[in-house]
Symmetry: C2
Subunit: 473 residues, 2 copies
């Protein structure tokens, strides 16, 4: 267990270093970030020294504790400078959890006049959270067998250490691809007319599918069609599986069923909504296409940028965006949601079932990427959806208990769980803000973002008595 | 295939006979029901004579066609007298489908002044639909292996004819239990002060968990606490598995995991909501308990009677009732919804998964009633939930496309699919009425009720190309 403490100490030191970088660049908030960095660094160093002699042999259950604790520690440490700056404790935690989980819901308004050091910190949280989630998705969740992610286990043995070594190689390649895409995105944004600071921070929140912006109008602040199309492209790139990039670069293999499924879905939805917008609201086709493509890609990739308040397009659009919130990007990307892979497997399971009830004695299997999908993968996917629904309903119930209306409760719970950001409705819609909600509601949403990011099962394992028996054994 | 036509002909003759009974008792609408009965009877006799020489050897696929067609024919035939009376065609179809599927949503208002012959016909549709669904659930769905219902296959061989013979025995016992409970219910209602007509029609719509009433105020018309508690009890009895009654009578075996799960769930929900109502709205505890017990049991058993507009209890209550709409009663009862058995299996699958991801190499199985649940049953249950969600979302999308607001669209789609009846919100809530909706919306809801009653998979089988290849082969 003390190895878990050791790693968390290192995480704190890492965040401390980032705070000092922020302090170095922005004098206005240098004191805040300098002090926060000093505090986080001191605690981090003490913890890792105290636990440095720990055995590095992670027991399986410790991997759960490690994963769950890192994300919690990161959110709390990330909240410190925001709290020292001027946010109330609950607001600071909300903003930091929303950042590190790349959700992007905000309780802050007046962003245009907020010190740039704070804006940078929000972008840093999302950039770090984004790559952290890719690594979690590629390296940890498959080992933990959470939600069918064992489908992506490397061919290596079941031994934890070998997988972790493979994971280190993967993580390094991932980081390179991620930083590279982020750099290109920033350059394209500059080419489109953004200033360097805006370009860098928005590139960080685009590729991480985080969606924090330095402006109250979100990406709508930039009225350039070029920039909007560029953001559409890079949001999409952030929601593709990073293992697919790496495989593409090293092995020139680009077929991927979940990438294809996501692209086809996007094309159909964007086409349909554009047509609907042109027919019912008489928009110019190209403008409609740009608006729809940006906002649909933003929601499906779980980025949550907005260029316009699409909920004003009427109940059908509001419904469509509500449903799209649940879709999510690809596994092993920065995106949240249920993920294209799982929808694909569920759809195939249903089709399989329709064939089976017609001809009960036929022999057939469900395939993914040409391979038969094993039963435990399907069981994981199904448990994921079941727990997703149960968590969603529980959150909605609790939010309603705190007085939220049905639509806001449902949309708030879903946008938190799927790490999307904006919801539907007046309060938390793309033109709204989470500031008006009460503290208990904010804390419920913080829990929702955390559960969503860890794909729920990672956390709910702690609720079984057997876990505690084995942990203390 | 012509055996399917033959059976449907007999169904029409059966409904014709019921219409003539209605005509015999109520002179005011005797012409309408007499004519409708003559038409239905003539067509029915002609069809069954034309197809009477058909082979009775049902191929597997024909069982699907038979099941799907009977329910559609029954709704259309049931609509004829309502249409001849005064309803518009779409309204008549809505009312009849809502009756035969025991949904109980109504487009009629001014029920208090509606001819009693029409009120009786609505009750007859629900009484017939209720027992029809029990038989479908006990005899047909297990053979069709729809939604995991093969769990309830009798031990006999896979041969269709033997199962059908068992089914006939079961159907006869079921009908006796059903009529017996209905009779007792009517007597209790009379003892509580109802007139004979009200007692009989409300007993028919209570035991069938249908929920049609002869009054606009629904069961709230009867302000007697005794009657409300009596209805609470008999709604519950209608939502228990009829195979469980029969087993209890013949073998004195009363343990049933899904019955226990439903009762525990009801106790917890009723207790919690009562407490909440007492604390937040300062109701007298016993009044609160009666109101909550009646309305919760009404929604969970998918009856849909209302004694009060519970949506006025605030957003938390609205949310709670919205979620309860999805729960449903037990398999093999008259109730709709997802059914207690399926929730239980899903909950166990999730728990199983939480144990498995902790200790991947442990050997364990999911059990139901002491037996290991086979993989194809779990696959059926999962497909059921997946298709349920997909159908729900599609219906919501289509309803939103026709201009319904999000809450009404969601609640309308769910209450139709789960065959509950009332929704949440001003328009279709317990104090509202479906009359204000446009014709296309009504037709979408008719489709929803039909799909919900047939547990979706039975109908969606028709969407696979393989079905048509085999059917025409
Ligand atoms: K986001
Ligand atoms: K009903």
């Amino acid at each position: 267990m003390s190895f878990v403490v050791y790693i968390n100490g290192l995480v704190m030191v890492f965040f401390a270093a980032l705070m000092e970088v922020d302090a170095a660049f922005f004098p206005e908030t240098a004191e805040v970030f300098g002090l926060a960095g000093f505090l986080a660094g001191t605690v981090g160093v003490l913890l890792s020294i105290a636990a440095s002699t720990a055995s590095r042999d992670l027991r399986r259950l410790h991997t759960f504790v490690l994963t769950a604790s890192i994300w919690l520690v990161a959110a709390i440490v990330g909240a410190v400078p925001l709290w020292l700056w001027q946010l109330a404790p609950v607001d600071a935690l909300f903003e930091a959890m929303s950042g590190i989980t790349t959700t992007g819901s905000t309780v802050m308004s007046g962003l245009d006049d907020t010190p740039r050091g704070v804006i940078l910190w929000r972008a840093i949280l999302q950039a770090v959270g984004g790559v952290g989630f890719i690594v979690t998705g590629i390296a940890l969740l498959p080992i933990l067998r959470v939600g069918g992610m064992q489908l992506f286990r490397t061919e290596s043995s079941d031994k934890g250490d070998k997988e972790l070594r493979n994971a280190a190689v993967f993580a390094s390649a991932t980081l390179q691809v991620y930083l590279c895409l982020m750099g290109v995105c920033a350059l394209v944004y500059v080419a489109g007319g953004m200033g360097p600071f805006d370009a860098i921070t928005h590139a960080m929140t685009t590729l991480s599918t985080g969606g924090y912006s330095g402006y109250d109008a979100s990406f709508g602040h930039f009225q350039s069609p070029f920039l909007q199309w560029a953001a559409t492209l890079f949001m999409l790139l952030g929601a593709l599986p990073f293992a697919w990039y790496i495989r593409g670069i090293y092995r020139r293999r680009f077929r991927s069923e979940q990438v294809e499924a996501m692209l086809v879905t996007l094309a159909v939805v964007i086409g349909g909504l554009t047509l609907w917008l042109v027919l019912t609201r008489h928009e110019a086709p190209l403008t409609a296409l740009r608006m729809v493509a940006f906002n649909v890609v933003s929601v499906v990739t779980t980025t949550g940028f907005a260029t316009t308040d699409y909920t004003l397009w009427g109940p059908f659009a509001a419904m469509a965006f509500f449903i799209l919130t649940a879709v999510g990007g690809c596994t092993g990307s920065t995106a949240g949601g249920a993920k294209a892979m799982r929808w694909l497997l569920i759809a195939r399971a249903v089709w399989h079932q329709l064939r089976m009830i017609q001809s009960p004695h036929r022999v057939a299997v469900i395939r993914y990427e040409g391979q038969a999908v094993e039963d435990d993968v399907m069981a994981g996917v199904i448990s994921f959806f079941s727990i997703y629904m149960a968590t969603f309903m529980t959150l909605v119930g609790v939010l309603a208990l705190f007085g939220l209306d049905l639509a806001t409760a449902m949309s708030g719970a879903l946008t938190a769980l799927a790490n999307v950001g904006p919801g539907v409705g007046d309060i938390i819609g793309p033109a709204g803000n989470f500031a008006a909600l009460s503290d208990p509601v904010k804390l419920v949403l913080v829990l929702g973002m955390y559960l969503g990011r860890l794909e729920m099962l990672t956390v709910f394992v702690f609720l079984t008595p057997a876990f505690w028996r084995e942990l203390t054994a």
